[in-house]
């Protein structure tokens, strides 16, 4: 059936069955591929998007549940002040290796810094625990979250 999706500030009409994960609507129907498929069971965080500003795993968020929500993805996160700072920090510290998980890492980091402008190491570890990186870039992710916090403070 037809759904109307508010994503990155625009409204998009999509055809999908109820029960279709938002992830696959974004990737296969809207062809916005910055949001990644990693596990399909909300265990790796590669598919993280924002729903009304809160990070969610889009592989376990269903199309029928997001009709009235604002969805935002990595493609638009630079428009957010926190998002721009996080991306700047990520590039400055060269966090990415293979890079496949980093959209999700960034979406989570933006969620963290939006609610906690100056997180401690423990708070970063707790918040980012669900975002897996098989290249193990975690040390730089921690440093980049702190660097983004500094950028925002300046």
């Amino acid at each position: 059936m037809a759904y109307s999706l508010k994503i990155n500030g625009a409204t998009q009409e999509v055809e999908a069955e109820a029960g279709t994960p938002l992830l696959w609507v974004i990737r296969d129907e809207l062809k916005m591929t910055g949001t990644k498929f990693g596990c399909g069971v909300a265990s790796c965080g590669a598919c993280t998007v924002h729903l009304n500003g809160e990070p969610v795993r889009s592989c376990q968020t269903f199309i029928e549940d997001v009709e009235d929500a604002e969805v935002s993805t990595i493609e638009a996160i630079a428009e957010d002040k926190v998002g721009a700072a996080v991306q700047q920090a990520w590039v400055e510290l060269d966090v990415a290796q293979c890079g496949y998980c980093q959209s999700g890492q960034i979406m989570s980091a933006v969620g963290l810094l939006s609610e906690n402008a100056k997180p401690t190491i423990e708070e970063i570890n707790d918040y980012m625990q669900g975002n897996a990186c098989r290249c193990a870039t975690y040390q730089r992710i921690r440093a980049a979250v702190q660097r983004a916090s500094e950028i925002l403070e300046a």
Binding site: V41, C101, N131
Partner: protein, 723 residues
């Protein structure tokens, strides 16, 4: 009448999209010209001054694209923001890996070692040709001109590089362009250069194969036998009929699988779940992990099939004379690679019945051969478009190109009019085999009354990586798979009367190299045993190692140097209260890495990895920050799996299926990693893999300093809790 100045002529030619292309043949000859299609360019320079590096190595996260662009930019004289990169087409005559003979491919941590001279030579040749073209135009001596920041200048003249692209492309390539002396390097060795792929991987624009949407493409998934050797009997797809977007299913008898087609990924996954398959398991593997393990232990008890280092007699008699004998038995489970991007690729119909493969191909030539065979197509009818890879850790190169062939056969079973994108789920990735082999070691070491090693008897039972693959003829010598024993028989420790025996264990699944290959287990055993022996001898682990490395050969000197540096930076011997330290050092892929792991807590109540201090000697570090990143990542990969990962089988079927039961390393698992690079003028050597081998034994040694000696992995199933 209007006369075009030479400069003006060059500018008008520029409009035609002219380029200067420069490559270096595998035999070292430089080739250059205006036609990139007829040679093997490593670089192209356009008239707008933009340089493109043609990268012959896969970018799997290890930084090859950044490294190869740095090499060209350095010699050519441009800034990193003036150079872009694209991946080389499949052509092993032009883009072979000099370390892999005639194969084009990436592996064994060779990308920089293989490219260091070739890509610099291409950059230097382009520089010389541009200078010669400008010198001739200006009527000055080439010796008075130089190129910096993309500008040719000297003798009172200045011009952007692009102005001389056309003229330079008509000159003969210099036979032996002069490479810079390392003292003249402006880019190589700098820590502040950023990765070329960093921004795209931060804003969602980087395209992995998973992200390609070709016009009219359909999506395919594949159902395989859950047991190795299971045969497809029949399937029933009627359960999938009602699924919106489901197209159909076809048997792929050549690989005992069923291909499921749909209009999108979600429908393909759902349809697959709805299909019933009958398997014939009469010849399938039905053993379970405990049986595999006991069979391997029995192999250790029996006489080894292969005497890798001559017969065992010398070691046995010396151990019989010893005052003290220590013995340990080790076991390593199967491990999945689990790259973050589930495997996938696209087969697109090409011209004249050919195909185009879109894939993060790592073993390019192997994949090309496999597709040629699977599709019955001549080599030239297959094109490969190489994309970024979302990780690999060894998984993307298999001897029979498993997932690419699945895609090819799935495509062949259609009417071949629409591109077919094969997508694996995480469950496919975890369950479909190609694991780090299961391996067992037993080591017996005899010491005299002063604690000197008299003899070392080392027996290994391993599932061979190489036997039964296309690499068998090149790698197996006298029956011995060198990848089962590397790091033991060639140890740099001065161990007298070393015996290494090897037996091949039966394969119960397909097996595959996994980041650092044989060193994943051999470094663990050697570095655990050195600590066990040091303890028996009453010696400090650092001093004991240094003493065994005092032979004066170059490998020993370099190993000792990283050991001392890591120990110094980690304050070896001065762990904070409640903490313990362990160290390990290992050479692999030409590089020397020492690591000190410091932990808090106890095995019983939970260990926390507080700090890993790493010292690496990889020769000259082209991109030091990339080297650091690879050490950080290699350490995380090694520790995460040693802590908690294993693949087990019940009646031949894999027990794990996704990250919840193959739990990845998480952000809080390692509190800090500190990497130090030994300054070196030696030729560059590997960095993608060498950080991994010492990590797990250094952790085991840290735990053993104040707790149990862990000799079977993963640690969580062998008496160690982690916080």
């Amino acid at each position: 009448m209007t006369t075009l100045s030479r400069r003006g002529f060059l500018k008008s030619a520029a409009a035609a999209g002219a380029v200067l292309a420069v490559g270096v043949h595998p035999n070292g000859a430089v080739a250059a010209g205006a036609e990139p299609a007829v040679m093997n360019p490593f670089l192209k320079l356009a008239t707008n001054g933009r340089v493109t590096a043609i990268v012959k190595h896969a970018e799997i996260g290890q930084g090859a694209a950044t490294g190869l662009t740095t090499l060209i930019a350095e010699e050519l004289g441009v800034q990193m923001d003036q150079i872009d990169f694209e991946f080389a087409p499949s052509n092993p005559q032009l883009y072979n890996n000099l370390h892999l003979g005639t194969l084009q491919g990436t592996g064994g941590s060779t990308a920089i070692a293989n490219s260091y001279v070739q890509y610099r030579t291409a950059g230097a040749a382009a520089r010389d040709m541009l200078i010669n073209a400008a010198a001739s135009d200006w009527g000055v001596s080439a010796a008075d001109l130089s190129i910096e920041n993309g500008t040719i200048a000297g003798a009172g003249h200045v011009a952007p590089l692009g102005d001389y692209v056309v003229a330079a492309s008509q000159l003969d390539a210099p036979a032996e362009p002069k490479l810079k002396d390392p003292s003249e390097f402006k880019l190589i060795g700098r820590s502040d250069l950023r990765r070329k792929d960093g921004a795209a991987k931060t804003n969602g624009s980087a395209k992995f194969a998973m992200d390609l949407h070709l016009d009219n493409q359909i999506f395919a998934t594949v159902l395989r036998s859950p047991r190795m050797g299971g045969k497809l009997v029949d399937f029933d797809a009627s359960g999938a009929e009602g699924i919106r977007g489901f197209i159909g299913a076809e048997a792929l008898p050549a690989i005992n699988s069923v291909a499921i087609y749909a209009e999108n990924t979600w429908a393909a996954f759902q349809a697959r779940n709805a299909i019933e398959v009958t398997w014939d398991d009469s010849e399938a593997e039905t053993r379970s992990s405990d049986q595999i393990q006991s069979e391997m232990m029995a192999l250790l008890d029996a006489k080894p099939t292969y005497d890798v280092t001559g017969d065992a007699g010398g070691a046995t008699s010396k151990i019989d004379e010893a005052t003290t004998v220590v013995e340990e038995t080790f076991y390593f489970p199967l491990l999945a690679h689990a790259p973050m991007e589930p495997l996938n690729c696209i087969i697109e119909p090409g011209e004249d019945g050919g195909v185009i493969l879109h894939d993060a191909a790592q073993g390019t030539t192997i994949v090309h051969n496999s597709l040629s065979q699977a599709l019955g197509l001549p080599w030239e009818k297959i094109k490969i478009n190489v994309t970024l890879a979302g990780g690999s850790f060894g998984r993307r190169t298999t001897s029979d190109s498993d997932y690419q062939v699945e895609a090819a056969l799935a495509f062949a079973a259609t009417d071949r009019t629409r591109p077919v994108k094969l997508v694996w789920s995480r469950e496919d990735d975890i369950t479909a085999g190609f694991y780090r082999p299961a391996v067992a070691h037993r080591v017996k070491v005899g010491l005299d009354a002063e604690g000197n090693v008299l003899g070392w008897d080392h027996r290994i039972a391993a599932q061979s990586l190489i036997k039964g693959t296309v690499f068998e003829d090149f790698v197996i010598k006298d029956g011995i798979d060198a990848t089962s024993v590397e790091g033991v028989n060639d140890t740099h420790y001065m161990v007298p009367n070393l015996y290494v025996g090897l037996s091949d264990a039966p394969k119960t699944t397909t097996v595959l190299w996994w980041r650092s290959v044989g060193h994943t287990h051999t470094a663990y055993v050697m570095e655990s045993m050195i600590d066990v022996v040091a303890k028996a001898a009453g010696r400090d682990p650092l001093e004991f190692r240094l003493e065994l490395l005092e032979g004066g050969d170059k490998d020993q000197v370099r190993l000792a140097r990283v050991l001392k540096l890591a120990a110094e930076k980690a304050n070896w011997g001065q762990a904070a209260a409640g903490r313990s330290q362990g160290l390990a050092v290992h050479k692999s892929f030409g590089s020397y890495v020492a690591e000190v792991v410091e932990v808090s807590g106890t095995a019983e109540n939970g260990i926390q990895v507080e700090r890993v201090t790493c010292a690496v000697d990889c020769g000259l570090a082209v991109n030091p920050d990339v080297v650091k990143a690879q050490m950080e990542g290699g350490i995380g990969y090694g520790l995460g799996h040693a802590m908690r990962n294993e693949i087990t089988l019940t009646d031949g079927v894999v027990d794990q299926s996704n990250f919840p039961d193959y739990e990845p390393l998480r952000i809080g698992d390692i509190a800090a990693i500190d990497v130090h690079i030994v300054p070196s003028a030696e030729a560059p050597s590997g960095v993608g893999e060498p950080g991994t081998p010492p990590s797990a034994p250094a952790l085991a040694n840290a735990i053993a300093a104040n707790g149990p000696r862990v000799t079977a992995l993963p640690m969580i199933n062998n008496g160690v809790e982690f916080l």
